[in-house]
């Protein structure tokens, strides 16, 4: 259970890191928090010839809340922001509570102290909570090489299980999570076999209400039910319903019918579909209640 040898590089700046990645060629891996890569190396499932350690790139250790190009709000997370940094960031919690709601379920606090949010997106585990959060919010990842830079939307970023579209030699520098517009509440629910384990099924929900408290939009995203995060709208079932009267159980059933989870050692596909239905109803109900409360505080504040 010892990792194989590799040639170690520890650049001090982003430019140096991009230079090293360009020099060493395709058999190199970026080393961020190491919480996925090191176990894989310990188990000899990965044996890169070069590791480019990005832990000194202090410029990428940030969580920034700001205004997006389209005038909306967004949370930008640098490649060296640990899960724990994102989870604890007060401004990010206030504007985009879904981040912390989902991060609570990412492994254990000890692993969140080292693992990076951007690293978990690049790793693209089909059970990685942040993949579905990025997809649900319609976020993006910025990828850079020494000579080029591209911004890839979540819908194209996740290609398959443990496969994102980041190519060898590219450094993911940041991920951007847009803050949903309007009176939107969010929620994350999942079931894992043990506390902190990867989910058997997990779901994130966003519910938006209009001025009079009717459902204007309801979307959900799933982990562990397919090769990449799955995003669905359940608006057809609940749109226009007053928030108290919306049939979230029917919405859960509607969503579950549209998923095709596979069986594996942890659960049968049918059980996963059942879980998806139940968890979807719970997550939507909680998100809608949060949206309703948001409305009250906004109204009270304006009085």
């Amino acid at each position: 259970m010892k990792p194989p040898g590799f040639i170690y590089h520890r650049p001090e700046t982003v430019e140096d890191a991009l230079g090293v990645l360009a020099d060493v060629g395709p058999d190199a891996k970026v080393l961020a928090g190491g919480q996925s890569l090191v176990p894989m190396m310990n188990m000899r499932l990965a044996a890169p010839s070069h590791l480019v350690d990005v832990n000194r790139l202090a410029d990428l250790a940030y969580v920034r809340v700001g205004t997006a190009a389209d005038g909306g709000r967004e949370v930008a997370v640098g490649a060296l922001a640990r899960h724990a940094d994102v989870e604890r960031d007060e401004a990010a919690r206030a504007e985009l509570p879904l981040l912390a709601q989902a991060l609570r379920y990412v492994a254990h606090p000890t692993i969140r102290n080292r693992g990076t949010t951007v690293g978990s997106l690049v790793h693209a585990d089909p059970s990685g909570e942040m993949t579905a959060v990025l997809a649900l919010l319609g976020g993006s990842v910025e990828l850079r090489t020494a000579t080029a830079s591209r911004t890839v939307p979540a819908g194209e970023f996740f290609v398959g299980p443990l496969e994102s579209c980041a190519r060898a030699g590219e450094l993911a520098t940041r991920a951007v999570f847009p803050v949903p517009a309007g009176r939107t509440g969010s929620s994350w629910h999942e079931v894992a076999r043990r506390n902190g384990d990867y989910a058997v099924c997990g779901v994130g929900a966003l519910v938006t209400l209009d001025d009079v408290g009717r459902v204007a939009g309801a979307r959900v995203a799933y982990i562990s039910v397919g090769p990449v995060p799955e995003v669905l709208s359940v608006a057809d079932v609940v749109e226009q319903a007053p928030v108290d009267a919306a049939d979230w159980v029917a919405a859960g059933r509607y969503a579950a019918d549209r998923l095709e989870p596979e069986s594996d050692i942890h659960a049968t596909g049918e059980y996963r579909r059942h879980l998806a239905g139940v968890l979807t109803a719970r997550a939507l109900r909680e998100a809608s209640a949060r949206a309703a409360r948001l409305e009250e505080t906004i109204l009270e504040g304006s009085r």
């Binding site: 040898g5 590799f6 170690y8 090191v38 310990n42 350690d53």
Partner: protein, 172 residues
């Protein structure tokens, strides 16, 4: 130089371990857990699973608990590390978390204990007066094959009591 030679090249690494500067020349693939145990002789840090699931190898880096089996020591060149050996009081007596484990029978074979003690030490720094639920959540990432966890939860609460009590005594 061939790639294999280059991969086994030694790197100088220095850390402040339990308040003492320690250095060694090590290959990049040396895990922090092995660096502590083999290169520095600090065998209190235990290695159970070597892939991040058991928590036995937990140490504090710059005050935060991490899995030492999932970090290369070179990455942490210059860091400040606290191991179980650094969880005693300055006079060499048991620290409050260690004392609490003794008081509450929080260990049996003791294999998992170093990881629990470091994890709980960092947790109580942040949350000096936890509820029982918070105490349980705090240790959820550490596995113990012996105790059934009840006495470990009790130890967390007892350690908080001891730490708060001694702070109280000092101020009187």
């Amino acid at each position: 130089m061939t790639d294999t030679d280059a991969a086994e090249r030694n790197h100088p690494v220095t850390m402040l371990v339990n308040g003492v500067h320690r250095s060694a020349e090590i290959p990049a693939r040396r895990l922090l857990s092995d660096f502590l145990r083999h290169d520095l002789g600090l065998t209190g840090t235990h290695v159970g699973c070597e892939h991040g699931v058991c928590g036995a190898c937990t140490v504090l880096v710059d005050g935060r608990p991490i899995r030492s089996c999932l970090q290369f020591a070179v990455t942490l060149d210059g860091a400040q590390v606290t191991t179980i050996e650094g969880c005693t009081r300055a006079d060499g007596e048991l620290g409050s978390v260690q004392q609490a484990f003794q008081d509450c029978h929080g260990l049996q074979c003791g294999f998992c204990t170093p990881g629990f003690v470091t994890t709980i030490t960092a947790f109580l720094d942040e949350n000096p007066d936890p509820t029982e639920d918070e105490a349980r959540e705090a240790i959820a990432g550490n596995l113990c094959r012996c105790t059934g966890y009840q006495n470990i939860v009790a130890s967390v609460l007892r350690a908080a009591e001891l730490a708060n009590g001694s702070a109280g005594q000092e101020s009187t």
